[in-house]
């Protein structure tokens, strides 16, 4: 595999992709704060739809006692994973609850046993080095491990390399290009051994020729610690510092930066021999196989200037946003928006009663100063969106087509390739909601395709 080595050590330039934007990073609020373990709250709401794909199927009944780490819902299909309770307690309801995406969605509510020491006593998981590949994949699925960068795509699906394809390069994604978020940064600093251990487990099954840990250059401590760990490691592993630029952490952009390669439209990283995993996912892998702890908690960043004590927290999945925010000292009157995820791609919330999901990387309480309401003007065709789009789309034209509801033309202009990084909306001097209208456009194109497929069939 051709490696376009990342950057030039003589000139000191760092590898990156073309285009992209530079939002204020605002990571100084939390990047030096150690991960704290958040106390268990009184009850937890565990949505059956935590991940991309088919929802999990409950295997517990109301009133049933459960133990920390116990399976409470099994995978609903291949693109689905197991779900576990983070606490010893009682199932009090299996019902519809508010989902961070906005709608009501089925979830399991668990009341915490106040007298339990909350120690996981799950049976030990067999050593992965002894396992055949298919058992490993099954265990990863059962452990509920999903991509923890935000999309929450089931990891076992990603790890199953199809017949005829080969994974030559494994990339661990520690870019964390979203402003404010520092959870991956802290995980790399504080869980570097687990990260390398998880990598060696995965490498045992994948056998990649090279492994790169991609980290944006604004995390020098993480780069330093992992670089030292990599040097003594037996794996073919290396830290690759990348230029600080949004959206550097997108799979396609990392592959452009490190390999100088493009994933053909509609294909996956594996089609260019690459597998990309978030660093948090790899740590979860290590914790399951070494400590028999399935994915029941994750590190999130609580930040923004409208929260009193910005922090990095280890939070049990299913904790409500209200509990997390209260633990961080509560909100100030400056609050303008509260969201799950980063400020570029996160989802705004109308209520604090929604729970943390497996894919939740942060809770941001942004003040009025941080979210300036932008006046909207007409498009002056300045072309800044074209220079921002990492996929070289033409957002100005797509925006015009969206305004005229010309969905077919939008499809011809490759709107389906857009991964909604929002760089176009970020730079538009006329404040035009470009990416927002592309979401609508993509939905309309997909709906039309589905309708045509059902008419044919």
């Amino acid at each position: 595999m051709k490696i376009k080595w990342p950057g030039n050590s003589i000139t000191g330039t760092l590898a990156s992709f073309k285009h992209g934007v530079h939002p204020n990073e605002s990571k100084e609020l939390t990047d030096h704060r150690q991960i704290e373990r958040m106390p268990f709250s009184d009850h937890f709401i565990l949505h059956l739809s935590q991940h991309t794909g088919v929802p999990s199927i409950p295997v517990v009944k109301e009133g049933q006692k459960v133990r920390r780490g116990e399976l409470i819902a099994k995978p609903g299909g291949f693109v689905s994973v197991g779900l576990h309770t983070p606490v010893d307690g009682t199932v009090t309801a299996i019902d519809l609850f508010d989902h961070p995406k906005g709608q009501m969605s089925p979830a399991i509510k668990i009341k915490t046993d106040p007298f339990s020491p909350q120690i996981s006593r799950q049976p030990p998981v067999p050593s992965p080095e002894q396992l055949p590949l298919n058992t490993f994949i099954e265990l990863v699925q059962r452990a509920g491990i999903v991509g923890m960068g935000g999309a929450a795509f089931p990891s076992h699906v990603k790890f199953s390399v199809p017949e005829g394809k080969e994974c030559k390069v494994m990339m661990l994604n520690g870019c964390e290009c979203e402003p404010y978020l520092t959870c991956d940064h802290r995980v790399m600093v504080e869980y570097s051994q687990e990260l390398l251990d998880g990598t060696s487990i995965l490498q045992h099954f994948i056998g990649a020729e090279a492994i790169y840990i991609a980290i944006e250059a604004n995390k020098p401590d993480a780069i330093h610690i992992l670089d030292q760990a990599c040097q003594v490691s037996e794996l073919p592993i290396e830290v690759v510092p990348l230029k600080v630029k949004y959206p550097q952490g997108a799979e396609k952009m990392m592959i452009s930066a490190i390999l100088g390669d493009e994933i053909p439209a509609g294909k996956l990283p594996l089609d260019v021999g690459t597998m990309v995993s978030n660093v948090g996912t790899i740590v979860a892998l290590s914790q399951y196989f070494r400590k028999s702890l399935p994915l029941v908690e994750r590190v999130i960043t609580v930040s923004g200037t409208a929260v009193r004590r910005p922090s990095n927290l280890l939070v049990p999945i299913g904790t409500s946003m209200r509990e997390v925010v209260d633990y961080c000292g509560g909100l100030t009157d400056e609050l303008a928006r509260i969201l799950l995820g980063g400020p570029m791609m996160g989802v705004v919330q109308k209520s604090l009663e929604v729970p943390v999901l497996k894919g939740t990387s942060g809770i941001l309480a942004l003040s009025h100063d941080e979210v300036s309401d932008f006046d909207t003007y007409t498009c002056i065709r300045c072309g800044r969106c074209l220079d921002a789009c990492p996929l070289f789309l033409n957002p100005a034209r797509l925006g015009l087509l969206a305004r005229k509801s010309l969905w077919d033309e939008m499809e011809d202009n490759h709107v389906l390739d857009c991964f909604e990084c929002a760089a176009c909306s970020f730079v538009c001097p006329s404040g035009i909601p470009l990416v927002q209208s592309f979401r609508v456009g993509k939905a309309m194109v997909r709906e039309k395709k589905a309708r045509m497929a059902s008419e044919k069939g």
């Binding site: 439209a265 509609g266 979210v371 007409t378 800044r384 789309l393 034209r397």
Partner: protein, 333 residues
């Protein structure tokens, strides 16, 4: 949320925004024009300022008048009408009658911009459209060039001409522009004079050096695209060089660059965001087209100067270029 007294807004990502907005972009152009205005005052005195005031007045009044029911003055705030007024004035001769400059401003904004739907909707550069109108309506006045006279407070008599009255005597010294003397008398002008601006010509076009500096500044500030100046100037240079090498009767490439309105138009007119294409490929076609047309009109057309028509012509092609020049999207080889 309401129970705690918080009011949050629901909107979709992104929640951050770059600090540059459209009025800021426009005002940056206005600021960058200030040195040009000062230099035109230096060379042409009060006459220059009066022509600028008349043209800007025509533009601002028209913009205000047609938007007076919709938050009066709001559309003036983005600075785009001011830019049009300044650009139009800077393409006029110093002794130009003020009422004509005012009328030019009215036409530039009214016909050049507002009837299309206002900022962002026009096809032609409004200032150039205003100038094209003036050239058609008052061909003599717009080609009467006076040499810089060094009198700052003196006002040229022709400035004060009123409709229907033709000033019979010119009190300044007239002189052909460098391009006109090249065309009609095969006489070249010293490049140094062209660089500094000590020649006859329109208000803003004479000092080539200043315009080059401003051009680099605007590219550095990312107000204008580097591709447009490179495309136009490169094409003009190459095409002129070919003719010059065949027969040195033709003007030299450097003379072509700095004589007439090419520099001014390259920096301020061709780079107009609204009327230039969006995609890199479209921009190359557009700017190379302008370059070829400029040389063809200047060398073989009936007029000494061809920049205005070259740009207007390629403006007309811009919607087509926007529609048909695709970007190469990631993952589509």
């Amino acid at each position: 949320m309401m129970d705690r007294g918080y009011q949050v807004q629901i909107s979709t990502a992104p929640f951050l925004h770059d600090t540059t907005d459209t009025p800021k972009l426009m005002w940056e152009v206005v600021y960058s024009l200030m040195p040009v205005v000062l230099v035109s005052f230096y060379f042409f005195g009060m006459s220059a300022l009066l022509v600028i005031v008349a043209s800007v007045g025509g533009c601002l009044l028209t913009e205000w008048f047609f938007n007076r029911n919709d938050q009066p003055g709001l559309s003036l705030r983005d600075g785009s009408a001011l830019i049009t007024g300044l650009l139009l004035a800077l393409t006029l001769p110093p002794g130009f009658p003020l009422w004509m400059a005012f009328l030019g401003g009215v036409v530039a904004i009214g016909v050049g911009k507002l009837i299309w739907g206002g900022l962002g909707h026009n096809i032609f550069n409004p200032a150039l459209l205003g100038r094209a109108f003036l050239q058609a309506a008052f061909p003599t006045a717009i080609t009467t060039w006076e040499l810089p006279d060094g009198k700052y407070l003196g006002v040229r008599g022709t400035n004060l001409a009123v409709p229907g009255y033709q000033a019979d005597s010119l009190d300044g010294l007239t002189g052909a522009t460098p391009l006109a003397s090249m065309k009609f008398e095969q006489e070249s002008t010293e490049i140094l004079n062209l660089l500094l601006g000590n020649t006859s010509g329109s208000l803003g076009e004479t000092s080539g050096l200043l315009l080059v500096v401003i051009g680099f500044y605007l590219i550095y500030r990312r107000i204008i695209q580097w591709r447009i100046p490179v495309g136009i100037l490169g094409t003009v240079f190459i095409v002129t060089a070919v003719f010059y090498l065949i027969d040195s009767q033709y003007p030299s490439p450097l003379f072509m660059w700095f004589a007439g309105g090419l520099m001014f138009a390259t920096v301020y007119m061709a780079t107009d965001l609204v009327t230039s294409p969006l995609t890199p490929r479209g921009v190359w076609i557009y700017s190379i087209g302008i370059g070829i047309l400029v040389v063809l009109i200047r060398l073989f057309g009936g007029l000494p100067e061809g920049v205005m028509y070259a740009i207007l012509f390629m403006n007309a092609a811009t919607p087509l270029l926007n529609r048909f020049s695709k970007t190469r999207v990631y993952g589509h080889r």
